[in-house]
């Protein structure tokens, strides 16, 4: 969560790209996203981890596409029409992250971000950087690098299953472990 902290102290506000998964809004620091592209189909890869949708062609480069729904243990969406892909770069290698839809870039003052979210969300993977208030919405800020890294799959899965329940029930205090 340091990257957000640094952002905050230097500028007092942060820019984030928001996207949705199952009608829940998520945000990611714009610096983590190299570009956004439409989903144009992938080539499935046999025996790949289940959350890897396949590989796709990004201007002559073969990049893997991660299905964030699967990564978070959600049910697959019916129809892939509007899906968007955010391209992030990890260790110089671009990775596509598929979400229901990519929404907009928001600039939020840091005061609107609650980084002490431990009582809101059960987050053992530390992929959640905070929860931001925007209009009447809540936006979960993610560190995408942590989400896509090969390790702690289980953690992220558990955690984000948690997001769903908890964000739906909003501020209801849920402290029990999954």
């Amino acid at each position: 969560m340091t990257s957000f902290d640094q952002q905050k102290t230097s500028r007092e506000e942060i820019q984030m790209l928001t996207f949705s998964l199952d009608n829940v809004s998520y945000g990611v620091n714009v610096h983590q996203v190299r570009e956004v592209k439409n989903f144009e189909g992938v080539t499935p890869v046999p025996y790949a981890p289940p959350y890897v949708k396949g590989v796709t062609n990004l201007r002559g480069e073969v990049i893997p596409v991660i299905d964030l729904r699967k990564r978070f243990g959600m049910e697959p969406k019916k129809g892939n029409e509007d899906n968007g892909i955010m391209v992030i770069v990890q260790d110089k290698h671009p990775i596509g992250v598929m979400v229901d839809s990519v929404m907009e870039v928001l600039t939020l003052p840091k005061n609107d971000i609650e980084s002490n979210h431990s009582n809101l969300i059960n987050d053992s993977s530390q992929a959640v950087l905070g929860v931001a208030k925007h209009d009447k919405d809540l936006i979960i800020l993610l560190d995408l690098m942590k989400v896509v890294s090969k390790g702690d799959i289980q953690n992220v899965k558990d955690t984000t299953k948690g997001f769903q329940i908890q964000t739906q029930k909003e501020n209801e205090d849920l402290t029990k472990e999954q």
Partner: protein, 676 residues
């Protein structure tokens, strides 16, 4: 002056690596020819350069050790004969340097334990032998000649060049104090302070910090830049008392072909590198000027290769798209593009070619160390060191070759007494050779050791459950021998730290197959073993067969397919768990692509196509059933990213002309996977 700058560091690392390689190589030669002055001089120069550049970068430990090594080499120049023990210690020093260099490269801490190595170096030095002393005199003139030259490193050359640019001149001053003169150090410092008033001092020999009686006996040499002319400079230095002899020579040019002396003065280091790079340890002065080279990062070369590959694929798409259009103008253009891309591709391939000596030259050291450890006497004979292969190929074959060599040393070559009993020369020979064969390079590792005993393999196979006695009965000798390529198979009686952990040969096989190559093993009991590796010269662009199965397209390298057979579904017979088909009166087991890939069978048509592929050897064929074969074409293989690494059976992906991404399969791995 510490230049802790990434750019300089990179340069330093690259240069240091070359010198370290050269040190190792020269030291091994020295072991055989302890009195070879050329080699000793080369060692001295390398150590000296390393000392200078590491000092400049502020790596004190590195500098100290190389300084010590330089002293040792200097001792050899004066006639000390190196003992094998000393060479072993020196090699250890080189290892320490190389490990330190790696740490520097990775930005890690950890200095060399200079003191221990220093002590051991001191212990290793022997007193000069009387024979050595006479030698010394004989080569004295040689030495003096060399001493009149001052070696400049790149920074110093830069300084000269800069001075030249602002209208100053470079001078080389050689002065000598009278023999009985005292306080040479102080006098030398006086000269330095005088000159620094009228110009810049680029370099002094001995170094400024080491100006003492002893070092100055040989004389005092300076390289300076100044506006004043040589007469003035001479007069100025002679103002200091007891300076006996002053010689001022202007430095005309920096490495240009003017002035033989300056060329050898300034170009020495370069010449040396060129010599090594060509695989010959010879000085080719003229080459320094004629063969102009540029250092390019491998990264950039890879990118270039990638783009050219992309271009080739788009060219294919263009040719396909325009094939039916009847337009002479367009046809000419596409033909031109076809030719140009082919030329470009050839050139890029050539640029990426490096001689196998880059890998081979590490092996004498390995063989030396291992054979010493094992108390075996082994000669390593290398042939075809100048054969060139693509860098990617070379990067990948190092490990398999080390495996093979270790196998030969550990299990192949017998101990001297065993060899004596077998009426073989005491010294075993391992022959490592490379040769070009069309688009392939063939690398052979051959030893004259004990060979592989098929009976031992049989026993091990039964013990480890790879085969039953009945199955073994039916196998040919070749098939039995080839079982050592199976994962987890190792016939070594003892587990050593180098080989025999049961991962040897299958690693070799896997790696080579992944590179699109083949491994072949011949062995004769009591006579020796020969492993032949056949590899494509280049990896990036390969010929592949595109196949369709379960509605998806896959690419299979043509090198893995021996023939394509059309068959009907009904011809595939079930044999309980497995299936087989009869091809030209031979039963060939088959596997279905969609099954090994875990895909659902979309359309099981009556007409099938069968790709026949060889597994371990020509006798074990296997058929891969696909829905249809699309076509054969050149593809550019791209690796799958980290997220998808380690998927068995999928060696990469490629992008077709229409932008579609297609997976490249490794049939051997797929089939062995399906067996498990």
């Amino acid at each position: 002056m510490s230049l802790d700058n990434d750019q300089y560091r990179e340069l330093f690392i690259e240069e240091a690596k070359e010198h370290i390689e050269c040190l190792t190589k020269s030291m091994l030669t020295l072991e055989k020819e302890p009195q070879n002055r050329d080699i000793i001089n080369m060692l001295f120069r390398s150590a000296h350069t390393l000392k200078g550049s590491s000092g400049m970068m502020g790596y004190k430990d590195f500098q100290e050790l190389t300084h010590k090594m330089e002293d040792v080499f200097d001792g050899m120049r004066k006639g000390n004969v190196p003992t094998p023990e000393l060479i072993t210690v020196l090699l250890e020093c080189v290892d320490a340097l190389s490990a330190r260099l790696e740490r520097i490269q990775k930005g890690l801490e950890g200095e060399i334990e200079v003191e221990t190595l220093k002590k051991r170096l001191l212990a290793g030095i022997t007193k000069p032998s009387p024979e050595g002393e006479t030698k010394n005199e004989g080569t004295e003139s040689n030495r003096i000649q060399e001493n009149t030259l001052v070696k400049l490193d790149d920074n110093e050359k830069d300084a000269l060049q800069k001075a030249k640019n602002i209208g100053e001149k470079g001078y080389y001053i050689n002065l000598k104090f009278s023999d009985d003169c005292s306080f040479k150090g102080i006098r030398a410092n006086m000269i330095l302070s005088k000159i620094s008033k009228i110009g810049e001092i680029v370099k002094t020999v001995p170094d400024k910090k080491e100006l003492d009686e002893e070092s100055l006996k040989q004389g005092f040499k300076l390289v300076v830049t100044t506006k004043i002319d040589e007469k003035e400079l001479e007069r100025c230095t002679q103002e200091v008392l007891e300076v006996e002899n002053v010689k001022v020579t202007p430095i005309e040019s920096l490495g240009e072909d003017k002035g033989q002396k300056t060329a050898s003065m300034l170009g020495e280091e370069k010449t040396f590198c060129v010599g090594i790079e060509n695989g010959k340890v010879t000085k080719v002065l003229s080459d320094v000027h004629s063969a102009q080279t540029v250092r390019v990062k491998f990264d950039q070369l890879d990118k270039l290769m990638n783009w050219v590959g992309e271009l080739v694929i788009n060219k294919i798409a263009l040719l396909q798209a325009t094939a039916d259009i009847k337009n002479d103008g367009l046809k000419r253009i596409t033909e031109n593009i076809d030719r140009l891309t082919a030329d470009l591709q050839d050139l890029v391939m050539q640029v990426r070619m490096v001689p196998v000596s880059q890998i081979f030259d590490r092996f004498p050291r390995l063989v030396r160390d291992l054979s010493l450890k094992k108390n075996k006497k082994i000669d390593l004979v290398m042939e075809g060191r100048d054969i060139e292969v693509d860098r990617t190929v070379l990067d990948e074959i190092g490990e398999p070759l080390i495996h093979l060599l270790r196998n030969s040393i550990d299990h192949g070559i017998e101990t001297p007494s065993e060899r004596w009993q077998a009426k073989k020369p005491e010294k075993g020979t391992i022959r490592l050779s490379a040769q070009r064969n069309g688009d392939h390079v063939i690398i052979e590792v051959e030893d004259d050791g004990a060979g592989i005993d098929p009976e031992k393999i049989k026993k091990a196979a039964i013990k480890k459950g790879f085969a039953t006695e009945v199955e073994l009965e039916k196998m040919t000798r070749e098939q039995i021998i080839n079982m050592i390529f199976l994962p987890g198979f190792s016939t070594a009686k003892e587990v050593t730290d180098t080989s025999g952990r049961g991962v040897g040969m299958d690693v070799v096989k896997t790696k080579i197959t992944a590179l699109g190559g083949t491994v072949h093993l011949e062995t004769q009991l009591g006579k020796g073993t020969k492993t032949t590796i056949k590899l494509p010269l280049t990896l990036a662009i390969i010929q592949a067969i595109l196949v369709n199965d379960s509605g998806q397209t896959f690419a299979i390298p043509t090198s893995q397919v021996s023939e394509i057979v059309r068959a009907k579904k009904s011809e595939v017979k079930s044999l309980g768990k497995t299936e087989a088909i009869v091809v030209r009166d031979k039963v060939v087991p088959v596997v279905h692509l969609h099954k090994v890939l875990g895909l659902e069978c979309a359309a099981y048509e009556e007409d099938l196509e069968l790709l026949i592929t060889y597994l371990n050897d020509e006798n074990s064929k296997i058929g891969l059933v696909v829905d249809s074969v699309v076509r054969q074409q050149d593809i550019l293989v791209k690796s799958l990213s980290e997220t998808l690494s380690g998927l068995k059976g999928i060696s990469g992906a490629t992008i077709l002309g229409d932008g579609q991404v297609v997976l490249v399969l490794d049939v051997g791995q797929l089939v062995s996977k399906s067996k498990n």
